[in-house]
């Protein structure tokens, strides 16, 4: 059982931390692609990153590489960075304008806070 109110609060906290550097975020169930919380939600991105993450994980396993841990990053054209956070049964995509936010805040503050908050929501 996942407390979606806590997920909403976590998204609000993410918005406060990244301010206008946060372009969009979705938290979704990787089994059915259902978005549970988000800001400026992107259904196409949910489908895309579910598939990319699944293929990445299977490719890592097939290559005997260590499995995906907390997140992976994509540097996109147009000064955007995508972070896909692995919450276990849930995935989260975070699209950041890297002219307005920076990687230090994203990696050292925003992502750890998000991981803790989603873990609490899943534990309820």
């Amino acid at each position: 059982m996942i407390d979606t109110k806590l997920l909403d609060l976590a998204v609000q906290d993410l918005r406060n931390v990244l301010r206008d550097g946060l372009v969009a975020t979705d938290i979704w169930d990787r089994a059915d692609g259902l978005t549970l919380a988000g800001f400026n939600q992107q259904p196409v991105a949910v489908a895309l990153f579910t598939r990319i993450t699944s293929e990445l994980e299977s490719s890592l396993a097939d290559s005997n590489f260590p499995p995906l841990a907390r997140y992976y990053l994509l540097d996109m054209e147009g000064s955007h960075t995508v972070a896909v956070i692995n919450h276990g049964s849930l995935l989260q995509g975070v699209l950041v304008d890297n002219k307005r936010a920076n990687l230090g805040i994203l990696i050292s503050v925003a992502i750890p806070r998000m991981i803790e908050a989603v873990a609490k929501a899943k534990a309820r």
């Binding site: 931390v17 301010r19 550097g21 307005r100 920076n102 230090g104 990696i107 050292s108 503050v109 806070r113």
Partner: protein, 195 residues
Amino acid sequence: MTHRSVSWTDAESVAQLLARATGPKRAAPGGAVARLAPVMPAAAAVAKPRLASVPPVAVAGGRGAEATAAVPRLQQYSDNPSDRLDLLLAWTLDHQRCTGAFIADDNGLTLAAHGISEAHVSLVGPLLSALLAVRSIPGVDATAGALWLGTNMMSWVEARTHRGGFCLGTVGPEALSTQALEQLKDALETTVRGL
């Protein structure tokens, strides 16, 4: 090549914080902070800084004892990490002898900076890694220090949390005193405790 923002902080809000913290000592917004950093989009309102006074401390210098101006202790009242970092940076720029300041994680990724390039901030990553071996020597703390960059001196302090290490540094013509480093460390620990 992308142009990543080195400065997460908003120059206008930092200038407002400086003005509140120092009263008439600092000129209107557009002063030192504006010179140090590009204008960034307006940020959320930050908590009003409250600075606790500490008594002046006499410091014995090479040219005789000299009373230094009291540096107010930084107190954080906001839960928002960005506001806390803004306030720490403003406090550092206002109360320490420096031309620039930065906050970074222990990988050298910038969390906030003014007046220093991202390349220089990234030095923190290998620097702190190298110090791990130094810290294995009994009695050596090595959580603060100074490094000559060629034209400037970078002084830094480090604080650790359950989420990893954070570094507060300054650049200026000279290394900061041990007293100033202790003030920085206290301010950094106060700030990262809530991140």
